[in-house]
């Protein structure tokens, strides 16, 4: 049995300790906001927070999450009102939307540690998050908007 906190709630899961966190979240807990995009830590669609740090849940084994706190997109805020979520809507960032939970979770960790990131900081931190629809410019703008950095 693996015990951990997910979005503030203690959960006990009877799963293979090597099962990636992603599948425990999606298949066992029904938290489908975190997405499967590649299973190889290449695309970032599966990004969640583990004790506040970004991990690719598709490769993070459950035993690594044992006794720790996981935050998924569903738990990032109450009612979708995290500044990033608001900025994402204000700037109409998403197109298909599949990558955006991962983008937002990574950006949230960035802002938590660097409240006024530069463009370079944003690009470096989000380098692991792919967007096939090509919303990168709006992602960058929305991170800055959420950070209160004025438009150039």
């Amino acid at each position: 049995m693996i015990k951990l906190k997910v979005n503030g709630a203690v959960r006990e899961l009877d799963v293979d300790p090597e099962m990636p966190l992603l599948w425990a979240l999606r298949d066992v807990l029904g938290l489908t906001g975190t997405k499967y995009g590649c299973g190889q830590a290449q695309c970032g669609a599966c990004s969640v927070h583990l004790d506040g740090e970004v991990v690719r849940s598709c490769v993070t084994p459950m035993r690594r999450a044992a006794g720790r706190e996981v935050t998924t997109i569903e738990g990032l805020s109450v009612d979708g009102n995290h500044p990033l979520q608001r900025a994402w809507c204000e700037l109409a960032v998403p197109q298909c939307g599949f990558c955006q939970a991962g983008q937002i979770m990574t950006a949230a960790a960035l802002l938590a540690s660097n409240p006024k990131p530069s463009d370079t900081d944003i690009e470096r931190s989000l380098a692991g998050n792919l967007c096939r629809c090509g919303t990168y410019l709006r992602i960058r703008a929305a991170v800055k908007k959420a950070a209160g950095i004025p438009e150039e």
């Binding site: 970004v54 490769v59 990574t106 960790a109 380098a127 692991g128």
Partner: protein
Amino acid sequence: MCHRREARGRCALVIALVALACGCTRRESGEARKGGGSPPQVPAGELRSAESFAQIGDRAERSRALFAEASRVFLHPRCVNCHPDGDTPHQGMDQSVHDPPVVRGPDDKGVVGVQCTSCHQDHNLELARVPGAPQWHLAPRVMAWVGKSPHAICEQMKDPARNGGRALAQIVEHNAHDPLVAWGWNPGHDREPAPGTQEQLGRLIAAWVESGAECPSEGARP
């Protein structure tokens, strides 16, 4: 200066280095020499054993040859990829730039969102093909090996200012037993391992220390 155990080791080092510097430059060769010289070469994936260098009579020359052999490990892409001199790790036998693009970060562990351990776990993942070992991270910049000669790596490795403040005994320990170093021989998923085994490297380095921790000359190659 020589008031601590660690520093005493350093003292010995300094003395040895000074002695070396005063000596004349020796003809250096890692190639087999006729009679009493280096042991015969082995295939690329193997390492010559520490014992086989005993046939080199001259202690200093033996020492240099031992390090040169060890440098076949250090310069192998499996190792040198995480000892870059720049801000990004390398990947693959062709040592191309790591993809996804990642940067060193302030503590050699990556930056927010793409820390090394955001993706790399404590062991290799076969289905996901992501390599892993405990505490995956980059060697600090002072320990960069890319583009360095065995001589330069040797000097670096002996220098407490650049080797994380380690005494020679700790250098032996690090090479012989560190679990991240160990990964070089167990890289997973069809990746070519470093030559030999970690145990063999450990013995080579121990023998090198024991023979005076001499560095190969600048032009020497394994």
